[in-house]
């Protein structure tokens, strides 16, 4: 049986510009362009790059019970989320396994947008629909919430890197107002005609200070019929900053170096606990429980306190000794200091912007670069193991007859810019 890949509005642009294309989540997407993954990765750390992320999906949740439904279905405690802010978390099933990870955007108390991964719009929308009925029990009045899958009705592109705001300034109608007080994980505008964020030609957009590279930048949601023009205008505006288009290859190595998970690879069909992403769970102050009950919360708490039949599993980030990597997945093994196999490799990629110097990792963007430092690249990623490991633990990762030595770490690429004050980048 032949399946037809979906395409984004930018597909012809990718193909006309020498992109190496592959299937990603059912979409025909660029892995890299003629510039190559290494230069695309370095461009984002040194200056800026743009990514077609229109394969991602959005689900609108509106109505009086929108917050109640999202509190039930998303792992973050959204009670404290303010208008114009967004937050990263996960959508779990009753077992505490990850259906998908998702950023929730709050427009106001009755209007939210949930941004999920490629091809997940329908799955997440029907998951939300199915749980509307769970809300009925506690209410005197009928449940008021509407779930709308916006897949293919919204296009999206990201600009990432320290020069992103300087470049966007040239295409936005009102950049100064937009960039004023715009902290990490906040957003402005929407896709309506009276959007507060607009391009010079008047096109409305949603501008979010977020991304998936660990570097300063923005995600932009816009009408599908306006994305190609925006892409081309930004490329033109970014010429003086050596802005380039980047594919999913660079996106993968950038996010691995920033200790960010890839959904369905680093988080998935196992309990979402004991990970580097515990900030995405609503732990109470003494970390013994959660501040709310949500789908999967019971399962997560039970695994914290007692071993389940599969044993508790732990996810850790690692770095290698040099740029050499191994294949991840079920053929891979994690070997501890006693030669015992303790798990598998979830992700192994190479961050080409970093290198070792006297047992310390530096990035090409580090302010304190030692003389003669050369970023030769370091492999990094995540392992899923059957025991708790201390930071600094040495392990061997093996795939067939290939082995690399790695160390468990809590962070990889230093001096990332994602969280910096916007005033430093304008």
């Amino acid at each position: 049986m032949e399946t037809t890949l979906k395409t984004t509005q930018l597909n012809s642009w990718h193909r006309a510009n020498g992109a190496n294309m592959a299937n990603f989540g059912g979409f025909d997407m660029p892995l890299w362009y003629e510039t190559g993954v290494k230069l695309e990765h370095l461009a984002v750390v040194e200056s800026a790059g743009i990514f077609d992320t229109s394969h991602m999906a959005c689900v609108m949740v509106t109505g009086k019970d929108a917050l109640n439904l999202l509190q039930l279905c998303h792992t973050r405690d959204l009670d404290s989320l303010k208008n114009g802010r967004c937050v990263y978390g996960a959508i779990l099933n009753e077992k505490g396994h990850v259906i998908d990870d998702a950023i929730v955007y709050r427009f106001d108390e009755t209007s939210y947008m949930v941004c999920v991964n490629a091809g997940m719009g329908t799955t997440v929308a029907s998951h939300f629909q199915n749980h509307k009925s769970s809300l009925i029990a506690g209410h005197e009045r009928p449940v008021e919430v509407t779930v709308t899958d916006l897949s293919e009705k919204v296009s999206k592109m990201d600009i990432q890197g320290k020069n992103s705001a300087k470049i966007l300034k040239k295409v936005l109608h009102n950049p100064d107002t937009l960039f004023e007080k715009m902290p990490y994980f906040s957003f402005k505008g929407d896709l309506s005609a009276d959007s507060k964020a607009r391009l010079k030609n008047g096109t409305p957009l949603l501008l979010s200070r977020s991304g998936y590279t660990g570097e300063f930048g923005f995600e932009m949601f816009i009408s599908p019929d306006a994305i190609v023009q925006l892409w081309q205008d930004i490329l033109e505006a970014g010429k003086e900053y050596n802005l380039i288009a980047c594919g999913l290859g660079a996106r993968d190595s950038l996010r691995a170096g920033s200790v960010l998970p890839l959904s369905h690879q680093d988080v998935g069909n196992w309990k979402f606990v004991n990970t580097p992403w515990s900030f995405a769970l609503p732990y109470d102050s003494d970390k013994s429980g959660f501040t709310k009950t949500f789908i999967g919360s019971e399962a997560l708490l039970s695994s914290e306190n007692s071993k389940n039949e599969n044993g508790t599993r732990y996810t850790f980030a690692f770095v290698g000794q040099d740029l050499r990597k191994i294949g991840a997945g079920s053929d891979s093994q994690v070997i501890d200091g006693n030669g015992k196999a303790i798990g598998t490799v979830l992700t192994c990629a190479t961050d080409m912007a970093i290198g070792w110097h006297n047992n310390k990792i530096y990035s090409i963007a580090s302010p304190d670069l030692p003389e003669g430092f050369k970023a030769k690249g370091i492999s990094c990623g995540f392992v899923l193991v059957d025991r708790k490991l201390d930071i600094g633990t040495k392990l061997v990762l093996q795939e067939k007859n290939r082995k690399i030595n790695v160390t468990i770490v809590d962070d990889v690429r230093p001096h990332r810019t994602a969280r910096g004050k916007i005033s430093n980048f304008i």
Partner: protein
Amino acid sequence: MKELSELNLPENLKYSDDHEWARVDGDVVTIGIDDYAQDQLGEVVFVEVPEIGDTFSKGDQFGTVESVKAVSEIYTPVSGKIFAVNDSLAEAPELINNSPYEDGWIIKIKADNLSELDNLKDKASYFQMLKG
């Protein structure tokens, strides 16, 4: 990825099913990976080569070519002793992409028995195999 018709497959080389090429000069065989392999791998970032003097039997893995996308093992199509390795690849692994048959050669091996190369394909039959 390149279309098959875009591949550069020189006539004077022999090709293995694993996408290595071999060029015979006396009893020394130069080995590298071909245009198809480098295109599939994408940007090569690291090449692991053996030491001069190492001996290998036909079919042995003698090194690895690592790209941003994947790690690929490379096998010798002929038994013998390593006569030379391409030191330039340590600093410039991208030579494999830019010049797979010239500057991007990987090893030269002094062959024990050149007839082992008879199993390799010429350009036409290798191209047929790629077409599937």
